[in-house]
Symmetry: none
Subunit: 197 residues, 4 copies
Amino acid sequence: MIVYYSDMRYKDKNKNEAIFQATIQLLNEIGFSEISMSKIAKRAQVSPGTIYVYFENKEDMLRKLFLNVEQKISSSMFEGLHHPLPVKARFELIMSNYIEFILNHKDEFLFYEQFCNSPLVENLYLEDSSLMFQPFYKLIEEGKEQKLLKDYDTMLLLVLIYAPVAELAKQYYRREFEFNDENVKDLIQASWDAVKA
Amino acid sequence: MIVYYSDMRYKDKNKNEAIFQATIQLLNEIGFSEISMSKIAKRAQVSPGTIYVYFENKEDMLRKLFLNVEQKISSSMFEGLHHPLPVKARFELIMSNYIEFILNHKDEFLFYEQFCNSPLVENLYLEDSSLMFQPFYKLIEEGKEQKLLKDYDTMLLLVLIYAPVAELAKQYYRREFEFNDENVKDLIQASWDAVKA
Amino acid sequence: MIVYYSDMRYKDKNKNEAIFQATIQLLNEIGFSEISMSKIAKRAQVSPGTIYVYFENKEDMLRKLFLNVEQKISSSMFEGLHHPLPVKARFELIMSNYIEFILNHKDEFLFYEQFCNSPLVENLYLEDSSLMFQPFYKLIEEGKEQKLLKDYDTMLLLVLIYAPVAELAKQYYRREFEFNDENVKDLIQASWDAVKA
Amino acid sequence: MIVYYSDMRYKDKNKNEAIFQATIQLLNEIGFSEISMSKIAKRAQVSPGTIYVYFENKEDMLRKLFLNVEQKISSSMFEGLHHPLPVKARFELIMSNYIEFILNHKDEFLFYEQFCNSPLVENLYLEDSSLMFQPFYKLIEEGKEQKLLKDYDTMLLLVLIYAPVAELAKQYYRREFEFNDENVKDLIQASWDAVKA
DNA sequence: CATGAATGAGAATTCATTCAT
DNA sequence: AATGAATGAATTCTCATTCAT
């Protein structure tokens, strides 16, 4: 399938995506120390040279991949988030969305976590990813104004909400935690207890 | 300083430590994709060949380094933890110990997080690191028995406590959060609220 | 010269041969203890990396080189060997062919001898090279049936024929023997005397 | 056990021999391309540094080892060779001696053959090993004078005698030939037929 | 656009050798 | 004499990238 873009003409979206998927998979399997452009090419079933048709170099590819995944996470997380909803309902929606994304996108999630914990995030001069959490940030500010949430530092409250979910997901993928209905309910309750006024 | 062992004569403990420190620093600066044995040797001010006097290979060195750091974190975290202390006091002590460690051992902490989020943790066949958290685990079980803590899955409660601290520390080192007295107090309070019955 | 294969495009037969020749020459000059892939690359006027486009690794290259040379020796040795020729005529033809090959292919011959006397022959799991001598073997069996040759172990008769030529060739290349017409005639005569009934 | 020599005082003959044996064995097992001073040291159960107490360097060690083995072969080969014995008896004695040596000293024999077929023989500036065959040479000259042997080039006659034995020994160690009484008798007979007038 | 042969720099590791003990 | 830790050069091989096709 060939797609015509304004600045990316004749480029095959499937190949681009195949390269992204191959990179994500390999990064989760063997990590940054063992990955290489030829291994990625082999996994993506393209020639090493082809990667350089789509990306300037390895760094450029990784940066674009990271932004792509970050975008996916962000849009999944805030899907269906209409402002009129009350604060707590929005909190619960975001939590559910996030959990759903994590459980259905193992590779993207683990890649993102690995990437965020490596110095690449800084070294690739990726703009502040907090933009991605903007709606989350606003929700918390609003909750503080409505005295629903504790009057703590906003970043602190934010982290109290998303850090446990992410960490539990990793434990889940290491088979040390189970994501059943009860645990999800408990998690959402406990997170709310942490931040509620 | 030279240490004499029965089967390992003249082996210099400083060199071992210098290699560890060089690796930790470089890993935080340039990451797994850019690190190399020669760069480590240069930073540690030893010859590349010397690393192989102390370690079988790169993998062996990283495994031993990881276990070494994990041990440091564990012993710091549970320092002064006497059983007679009531559950909440022990909870607060662990939190303070952990925060103190993180703030005084930037390199070790960031290395540990990077390592845990890479596939190396599984690929190096490291024995279950949950042993390290054993006292923490027991504390939570005890808290549940005393009806002080929610009757939730133990791993869930564990994560609700340590995940936010760790995540905030990373935000702190990215200059997106401040670890002042108030924030620390708030964090401990909120974490307790998350897990308390 | 560029050859197009179905699954091996653009691969240059000259480069393959250049690598083989460089290896043979260096092996005869400095031996297995001093040879290296970079020295081979330099001699063959290719980049070290290029060798790995043509061969999996050093072992694979040496194995393929050995089989290549063995094939050359075999086809030279039995060139023009028509079955109708009487046993003695065939014996003499093989001897002449072999001597001619040895004198015109110093490098290949000395490489072959060095290789056969090293443990590589066994360690590379090379299939039984006796296949190469199959026509020779058959000639001797036939000679024994016709009562022209001694009724000795076939391998014994085989060795009585080819071992002296090969050894004399080595002495020749060490300037301790001369391969003039008389010596060649004498050698063939003496070899025949050794095996004839 | 410590032995006192004039120019090799306090040096342990056992260690010297252990190093020689380790080298011979390893050379037969893995060859020149894979051998190393540390592997030799490990096999000889001495420290790498110890080798340099006995030898100047690797080259010096190999040279001395070669000369040592050559000496052993030579003295075995000509053992019991009294001049009064008739030519044919001496021929048969040398053959028997040589076969006996080969069958009882696999490692030394194979090492010698490997070494002689490598460029090391020339590169180590080893003096003409033909000195070793001096008595053999003389025997043939004498046989020619007595018209017992063909009036061929002496080297040619020499090679006709020793090359087949050596080659058969190699086939024997590759399990492609059997050294039973009959074969030995046949070999000596055929070799004599090759050279006798 | 897609290929894969070609490259030289750099990767992990081993080498022969030295020297303080 | 004997050790083995230490070394920097050299080993095999892989890397990111280029470019002719």
